[in-house]
Assembly symmetry: C2
Homo-oligomer: 301 residues x 2
């Protein structure tokens, strides 16, 4: 299952039982954490998200509501005896902050914390299951969006047809990559006769925190699921602009312009106890919008 | 009311719905925060402890479960427009850690954060309502205990008698300090005839985290309420010693030797889902023991 679980959907000031930003994205058994506001590890425990499954953490920017939960999470991983490496990505200043805290506590991590400081947009991670690219978003301080794309074979194997055609199983991987097969007798078996067209690879894009910026749409074109911050409603559009945030209508406009399949909005200001109006405002522009609700898993389809 | 409210009673790894260490001590309208583990501000919101009431914060040591909630709390105070100064006390390395985080976020606090680095035992705070002293406890890294004592006048005013004796109200403060009054006519009115003996000032001592150390007893002699960590039960006494922690029986032994009125134990290891045995083990040594339970306020009497 390719799905996104929301751990926190509030902006900086925790309120109304909502938590600061954190999300986990699962590609089957592979789980990545996106941002890590204060209390993320406590939310993980409450929602039964296993810390041990996380091998990649992506931090968008160094406002506290997006990373103050990180030192505690890393400490807990250490206390639980983790030995698997942990890959961390974010602004360059992140590692010195963590290091100062580790030094003060005389902490020696029992696992490798591999930090990749982000200086420019580009590909960050390529695994057999997924890739991750970062792109700049416009906020008050340096801030990165992330695009997660699953990796798929070009073609799906028609197992029965491939066996019937006498193709050895050792060649099946090459069939999935689109190759034709030539038998020992020199007979060509076309790839199309033993495979099916595959569905396109699905993708998830994360944009928080950001001012309304239509130049993002190129990067977001056609993604299956877009998370875009919506700190305010339209009545506070000026405030949103002044603080480099967006409104629900603006998030929906980006989704519409980029032709995404589905939009999730979050990072709600603590000004708002109720969230209904966020949904109404966004759906008026882009009907395929959902609120990012804590504890809910949204499938990327 | 002089009372202590527990916000978190667990040791480093949050578990079983328990949170890392944080407490608020109230002297009437004056509130101080003692340690500030991750999620403290969220616990405060849940328990309706007002952030704005807090003017003093004391951090025992720089293991994360005792201060990782501090940057988030300070940020929230800033976002809420606080202008009152905030007084912070703790190990010297604390301020550079906070400063690095503020710098990364381009944070400008709208209030004065007055930090007092602690280098040695002694008096830290003297207000008209209470005093705070720190003393060293033995842990793996530098760690401070705190002794909070309310300020009281030497004598309680017998208002009726003082008025009847013709003493001007402007002299009442001096009566509370124990002075006799001499009238314009030269008549001496003894202090004892217009005042009552006052009850002794009450005190609260906080000892976390610490190895079992009987030398603490001098400092703790006769306090009204002692909080002493009890990370483990006696079956893990060796582990407690190796990690510079204490068992429930050891905490109770300290309470007994110091002749305190009441003991609270906390900082329970996440190994233990249930806490009953902590209470049994401690009460066998010192019956006036309670578990430090989250959300509960313990009166200092």
């Amino acid at each position: 299952m390719f799905g996104l679980t929301i751990l926190g959907n509030n902006s900086a000031l925790p309120a109304h039982g909502r938590h600061p930003t954190a999300q986990v994205l699962s590609f089957g058994q592979h789980t990545v954490l996106i941002d890590c506001g204060e209390g993320t590890q406590i939310q993980m425990a409450a929602l039964k998200v296993k810390r041990s499954r996380i091998h990649h953490i992506f931090i968008s920017h160094l406002h506290g509501d997006h990373y103050f939960g990180l030192p505690g999470l890393i400490n807990s991983m250490a206390l639980m005896g983790r030995t698997d490496p942990l890959n961390l990505y974010g602004p360059p200043e992140l590692m010195p902050i963590l290091q100062l805290q580790f030094n003060a506590a005389h902490t020696q991590l029992p696992f490798e914390l591999a930090f990749t400081p982000i200086y420019q947009a580009g590909m960050l991670v390529e695994t057999p299951k997924f890739t991750v690219e970062c792109f700049a978003v416009q906020h008050r301080i340096a801030c990165w969006g992330y695009l997660f794309t699953e990796c798929k074979f070009k073609r799906k194997l028609n197992h029965e047809a491939a066996i019937a055609a006498g193709i050895p199983t050792t060649f099946f991987g090459r069939l999935q990559h689109g190759e034709d097969y030539i038998s020992a007798a020199g007979e060509l078996i076309s790839n199309a006769s033993v495979t099916f067209a595959n569905t396109p690879a699905r993708s998830y894009a994360y944009c928080a925190d950001t001012i309304f910026d239509t130049s993002l749409c190129t990067k977001l074109q056609g993604v299956n699921l877009l998370y875009h911050e919506a700190t305010y409603l339209s009545h506070l559009e000026e405030r949103a602009k002044a603080r480099f945030h967006s409104t629900a209508a603006q998030a929906a406009t980006i989704a519409k312009m980029a032709g995404v399949k589905k939009l999730l909005i979050g990072h709600f200001s603590s000004k708002y106890a109720e969230l209904d109006q966020f949904l109404q405002e966004a759906q008026a522009v882009f009907p395929q919008t959902d609120l990012a609700l804590e504890g809910v898993t949204y499938r990327v389809i």
